[in-house]
């Protein structure tokens, strides 16, 4: 106990120092606390009254987590979450320390953590989640995670430590994890939506589909409306509901279904869950709008072929002539290998008539990808110059689309919102 108090205190002090030095919300407090007491996470989450929920998978973690938190808070529960995207052990420890009292106590009904799919194997036995949601598995940053089969094996191992696994039935790699889980629930979508959302083996493999398990919750309809969409959900236990989501794309329909099914495990009725869904705005970097000099810049984070293909679908639906800036960095957090640009359906952008620019450390790689897809683009590796040129192309009062990798997004946020810390900007 004394050790935990010390760990919490030192971690907190480190966080203050780091903020004083202007480094913002780093993972330093968690890192230091874990050095002092390697069981910081276990001890801090133990008193959380209703338990822990972990959300993992390649794409959709942050959005699903945000939706789920909205539903649970809507029930009047106190919820702890790592909402700013730091999803490794040190990030989760940091968040727990921030909300803990000086004696290392946490007053919360629930904790909802998104966990990196490579880190979840070691995190799950420590967090002992009551529910674990697995959104999907696609190839992502092979230089960091290695092969998809390895990632799938890690997540499957993690699922064993969850009370109930909430699994995407339409992703065969995820659905087959049911075997190792103490209990499993499945969400999925109607045929038409499912076809629009190819999973990894469908995207790259021979297309042989194993039989899908029976669904507990089905996304029956997802129709675009304005900036978002209207979805209809039907549960195997008889409840049905309709919701107007603020976020577009069938993949967000899946995220909503996963969140509703996880919330149902805690007794949240569907009618109230969809109410919370309608209130949920886009998550960090997933479709938020930043106002700048009378123009709107809409952010769409990309990090792997599946996510890039989703962004491409969104871009294809925009009116011709829309300014689009694609910014590709290759730092560790982005993935050092930019080969994935060639695995994405960039050819679909030919004929959109948009005005494309590319930026970032690998601006020329992106421009080259566009060139071979038959799409002209300007290139400006420098972030400040690229942003200037991009903003110039957006007519006053109109919207341009910024499609960055993770660290490129952070650079642009610093430029678009100077003096605002990221956490404040996106709280």
């Amino acid at each position: 106990m004394l050790r935990l108090v010390l760990a919490t205190a030192l971690g907190r002090a480190a966080g203050r120092l780091s903020r004083l030095l202007g480094r913002g919300g780093s993972a330093l407090p968690g890192l230091i606390a874990e050095k002092v007491d390697p069981r910081t996470i276990e001890r801090l989450v133990a008193p959380v009254r209703r338990g822990v929920i972990v959300v993992t998978g390649t794409n959709g973690k942050t959005t699903t987590t945000k939706m789920l938190v909205g539903m649970l808070e809507g029930e009047g529960w106190r919820v702890v979450t790592n909402s700013t995207g730091s999803n490794l052990a040190r990030g989760i420890a940091t968040r727990l320390i921030e909300v803990a009292s000086w004696s290392g106590r946490i007053d919360a009904d629930l904790a909802v953590f998104e966990a990196d799919e490579a880190a979840v194997r070691t995190l799950a036995p420590r967090l002992r989640p009551k529910v674990m949601v697995v959104t999907n598995l696609a190839r992502d940053q092979l230089d960091r995670y290695g092969e998809l089969a390895t990632t799938a094996a890690h997540v499957a191992e993690a699922v064993r430590h969850a009370g109930v696994a909430v699994l995407n039935a339409d992703d065969p790699l995820v659905a087959e994890m049911a075997g190792g889980a103490p209990a499993a629930r499945f969400f999925g979508a109607a045929e038409g939506i499912r076809r629009a959302m190819p999973h990894d083996s469908g995207l790259y493999g021979s297309g042989e589909e194993p039989a899908r398990p029976a669904l507990d919750l089905c996304l029956e309809r997802a129709e675009p409306e304005g900036d978002g969409q209207v979805i209809e959900l039907a549960a195997a236990w008889g409840e049905r509901a309709r919701a107007r989501l603020q976020v577009p794309g069938p993949y967000n329909g899946y995220n909503a279904a996963g969140a509703v099914l996880a919330a149902a495990e805690f007794g949240v009725p569907m009618a109230r869950a969809v109410g919370a869904l309608e209130e949920t705005g886009p998550a960090f970097g997933r479709g938020q709008v930043v106002e700048c000099r009378g123009r709107r810049v809409k952010l769409q984070l990309v990090k792997n072929p599946a996510g890039f293909n989703q962004a491409i679908r969104l871009l294809c639906a925009l009116p011709p002539g829309t300014p689009v800036l694609i910014a590709i960095n290759d730092l560790d957090a982005d993935g050092r290998d930019v080969s994935w640009l060639w695995d994405s359906r960039v050819e679909d952008l030919a004929g959109t008539g948009h005005r494309f620019g590319t930026a970032g450390l690998r601006a020329f790689d992106m421009a080259l990808r566009l060139k071979y897809a038959g799409v002209a683009a300007w290139s400006e590796p420098d972030f400040t110059a690229a942003l200037e040129r991009f903003l110039d192309q957006i007519p006053l009062g109109e919207t341009g689309y910024l499609v960055p990798t993770y660290t490129a997004m952070l650079r642009f946020l610093d430029l678009l919102l100077p003096g605002t810390s990221k956490r404040e900007a996106w709280a």
């Binding site: 230089d143 790259y204 021979s206 060639w342 450390l361």
Partner: protein, 238 residues
């Protein structure tokens, strides 16, 4: 009637790390010169007559696919050897490159037989060789991204593709990368390789076109400034 027939080996099974970009590059660089290519997809199990192909491409895959592909390649071994002898141009990358050697010894000691077009073996290791690579070759400097744990050792007398200037290449000690036998090329470079290395892409096209249409085919020069900018940026990254 197309000007060139390209066979894409294992397009579903061996297609990570953007290797499809190589086929896109070959096709586009022909189109920009007013030439057309027919691309035949050759997945595991499909029958294919290599005598009709001018240029054969095979990419890298995940371990699970590589076993399937190894078996399938054994069935095609004689046909591929004949095609190499007949001057068909081959570009094999990472997983397919390894299987064009004699064998792959995995880390757990099991042996995956290759087809022995290249006089070399690959031994699975613990260390993953990851990062941007620069290789000096007779066709200029090639830039790519490698990600492999297999260490490939060329037999004495087996020609390599070039000397490693940055990165690992075939293995961490010998500073050599890839292999070349007749018009068959093997390399670890992803990236995709050909879009950022247009001179090498054109070398392959030139050889393949000459095979079909006779010597004297002249490839019109293209504006490759963007290709060179992208290659230069990649060469500076860790």
């Amino acid at each position: 009637m197309s000007d060139l027939v390209i066979a894409h080996l294992y397009p579903y099974e061996m297609n990570i790390y953007g290797d499809t970009g190589n086929v896109i590059a070959l096709r586009r660089r022909l189109e920009w010169r007013g030439l057309g290519a027919q691309v035949d997809l050759v997945p595991v199990g499909a029958s294919y007559d290599f005598t009709g192909a001018d240029l054969v491409f095979g990419g890298g895959g995940q371990d699970r696919s590589q076993l399937q592909v190894a078996e399938d390649l054994q069935r095609r071994s004689a046909a591929i050897h004949e095609a190499v002898a007949a001057g068909t141009v081959f570009l094999t990358i990472c997983g397919t490159y390894q299987l064009f050697g004699r064998r792959f010894l995995t880390q757990d000691g099991s042996e995956i037989p290759g087809i022995g077009v290249f006089a070399m073996e690959t031994i699975g290791g613990r260390k993953r060789m990851i990062g941007n690579v620069v290789v000096a070759t007779p066709w200029g400097e090639l830039v790519g991204f490698e990600n492999h744990s297999g260490r490939t050792l060329l037999d004495p007398g087996q020609a390599s593709l070039g000397r490693v200037k940055r990165g690992y290449g075939n293995n961490e000690t010998r500073r050599e990368e890839g292999a070349v036998t007749a018009d068959c090329f093997g390399t670890y470079l992803h990236g995709s390789l050909l879009p950022k290395n247009p001179a090498f892409a054109d070398e392959l096209l030139q050889r393949a076109l000459s095979r079909r249409h006779g010597p004297g085919v002249v490839l019109e020069a293209l504006d490759d400034r963007l290709e060179h900018l992208a290659a230069a940026a990649a060469a500076r990254r860790p």
